[in-house]
Every structure is written in structure tokens, then in C-alpha cells.
């Protein structure tokens, strides 16, 4: 099936079998390996990408099903060598240990801060429920989101 997607702002055309998941397309065919294959069944959020700006799970979506839509991944956030403020905030707050969950968390954070410019801790915890981190204990992740909100509101 012919499928046309806009991935990180770039138009891409593929010929795909219908059973290819969006996550497989990104990782195997595009070499965009930032989005991670964690649980594969919707529980961990490691595969979170933005579909037309909304956080979704690439492990549960058929690639043919997003024909014509915009997909944004962690690879599209930085501008050249300049990291996105959310990425800078995660680094500054030591919100990363092994890093496996980080791309998913950062994409969810991107969606959150677009909806809510100044979220409270409760709102952050609630929004990020779909992302699991086995290393950090979440405290620094919350700080990173607050730090990112500050950076982005200053701009």
C-alpha cells in the first residue's frame, strides 16, 4: 500500500504491508531509533510520538492508518546542534539515567506543555501517567518539566 507521511516535517512516501506498525516504520525503515520498543502493548509509553501534535503510542498504530498525517519524533525536536528547551531541562535536572524512557517522556512533555503552559506537580504527574521510568523515581522528571515550562515561558 502506498502511504504518505510527514515525519518531522519531511514528506516521506512508502510502500507498506498493512501489518507494519508505525513504530517499526520509524525504527526499521527510517532509522529513527529514538522511539523505543518497550512493552509493545500500550503500558510503558517508551514509544510515544506526536500524531498531528497529540501524544500517541507508535507500538499500537498501523502505519497505513496514519496515511496523510504528521508524525513527530524525538529526532525532530532539536534544531541542528541546538537542543530543544525540554531536552536541555531534562539534562539540567538529571532526569535521565539509562535513558530508555526519555524520548517517550520528552514527547509527552512536549504535548503537555502545548496544552498547559504552567502545569502544577499534580497535573504533570497525572499527564505523564502513561510513561514508566524504572530508574529515576520520577522526582527529577517532574523538576525537568517545571524547568522546561519556565524556559519556554521566558521565550
Amino acid at each position: 500500500m502506498k502511504v504518505e507521511l510527514i515525519i518531522n516535517g519531511k514528506k516521506c512516501i512508502f510502500d507498506l504491508e498493512p501489518n507494519i506498525l508505525l513504530l517499526n516504520l520509524l525504527r526499521d525503515k527510517m532509522d529513527l531509533t529514538g522511539s523505543k520498543y518497550g512493552c509493545g502493548i500500550g503500558e510503558c509509553g517508551a514509544c510515544t510520538v506526536l500524531l498531528d501534535g497529540e501524544a500517541v503510542l507508535a507500538c499500537m498504530i498501523l502505519a497505513v492508518d496514519v496515511d496523510g498525517h504528521n508524525v513527530d519524533t524525538i529526532e525532530g525536536l532539536a534544531e541542528g546542534d541546538k537542543l530543544h528547551p525540554i531536552q536541555e531541562a531534562y539534562l539540567e535536572e538529571d532526569a535521565i539515567q539509562c535513558g530508555f524512557c526519555t524520548p517517550g517522556f520528552i514527547m509527552s512533555t512536549t504535548a503537555l506543555l502545548k496544552e498547559n503552559k504552567d502545569p502544577s506537580e499534580a497535573e504533570i504527574r497525572n499527564y505523564l501517567q502513561g510513561n514508566i521510568c524504572r530508574c529515576t523515581g520520577y522526582v527529577n522528571i517532574i523538576k525537568a518539566v517545571q524547568n522546561a515550562a519556565k524556559r519556554m515561558n521566558k521565550k
Binding site: P18, Y37, G40, G42, L57, M60, S108, G130
Partner: protein, 298 residues
Amino acid sequence: MSINNHNTHILPKFEYYSPKNIEEACKILSELPEDSKILAGGTDLIPKMKEGVLKPKNIINIKQIQGLSGIQEKDNCIIIGANTKIRDIEKNLIIQKKADILHQATKKIGSVQIRNIATIGGNICNASPAADGVAALIALNAEISIIGVKKKKTIKLEAFFKGPGKTILNKEEILTEIKFPVPEPGSYGYYCKLGRVSLDLATVSLAVQLKMVDEKVENIIIVSGSVAPTPLRLYNIENLCINKKITNDLIDEVAEKISREIKPISDTRASADYRYLAIKGLAKEAFSQILEKSRGTR
């Protein structure tokens, strides 16, 4: 690079259809064999296919069909298209203002990412006795419209389920919309559920929607999830409350009697004994909250 190709999380092959209108969809469904599945958000279907629980040979994506999503208020009813995303229901202002119990229930489904993909039609047709959206919609006295090749029918939502994963749908039929009357002034609703972590399906849930006149319960619907093969209406408890004031005594009586009305099993999520006890706590919570809300607005 191709490590995922050795992963068991790869989906088996299937034929894929993406009809543009409902007639075409029903026709495709009627001509295909039984091992065909409708795809809406896929948050129930795709994991089941990955785990090998379902192995459909044909997938019919219904998301390209026009007119199957959206929320509108018409003739004192609220109508929700089957393909409406759970997240869109959660954020909708009509729902927040006029059908708060559905807002509460949709907020409790999965995660933001799941709610951005999952549809209300899928929540219903998956026929899980734990489905959060379903319990709230039954409490709102919802009916659903189903379209087949030649006929259209409307039935009460609570009559739709035959057992876990089983509904009255024929293979060529599609759920198109859900409709319920706008709750009248003096109506209050509360939805609560228990789970181990926030993303879990309910181990027990309770939806209570009632209308009060002069502080007395005029009508009431109580629905419990995960305590029987299908979402369960608790008629005896409803009858117990009719024409009574909600007092602490009544709440105690409800909590005392509610366990007798459910038929839970022990499964991986909880034991039957746990559910018999937990439902009492949920009943207390729901009725106390409704009492508080009704005091707040008087």
C-alpha cells in the same frame, strides 16, 4: 537494526480494508468470512493480535468513514459518534457541564496516549465488563444505534452485552452512535473505580446517576463493572433508594446490601472476596460525594 523483526510483538499478516462510507463497510463485512475484525482505535484489538489471542485474516478500518465522530446536543439529547476519541469526550464542554459522570469515567481510562487513540465505540464493542465508559453511559440511560447491510436498529446499551467480549452484533453490523437524554436539573452523577495502578482496568467500579426532587431520590441508575460477566445494573439497590432522602443511614444500608447484588469471580486482578468488600467502599464514596455535591449547589 532489524532486531524488532525477531520480536514477538510483530503483527501477523492480514488483508486490510479502509471503506469510505458505512454502506461500503457493511457490504465488505457481510462478504468477508467470520475471522474479520473492525479496527477503530485498535487499543484493544492490536494488543490481542500481538498476544495471539485474536488472529483476524481481515481488518476493516472504520476511521475513514465520514460522520462517525463528534459530539452534539440535539432535542434535549446528547449524541456521540462511535469513532469519537475518548480524549475528545473527556475535554468536551457539553459533557463536562451536562454529563459529568461520563467526563469522570473517561478521565480514568488508560493514559493520555491511550485516550488520544481509543474510541468510545471500541470501549463498548470490546465488551469488557470493566469498561469505564460503558458503566457511565448505562448510568446515563444511553441507547446505541447499529447499522447493518439493510437495516438500522436502536437498543438500550445495557441490552447489548452477552458476556465478556460478546455482544449481540452480527458480523456485518457496525455501532454508529450513542445517545442519551440530557440529565434534568437536580441530577448528580459519580463514577469511581479501583485498580492497582492508574493505567489498570477496574478491579471493581461503580457508577451512580440520580435525580433529586425536594432532597428525595426521584430516579436513579446504579451500574457496577468487573463484578459480573457484563456491566451490571443493581436494580434492588436502585429501588431501595427511590423516594428516600440520602442520609448517612441510607448510605450505610446501601453499603450493607450492595454486596449481595453482585456476582464476581476471582481472576488475575482480584479475588471475588475482595470485590464483595470493595464494592461497599465504592458505594459509600459515591453516595457521600453525591450528597456533598447536592448540598454544594443548593
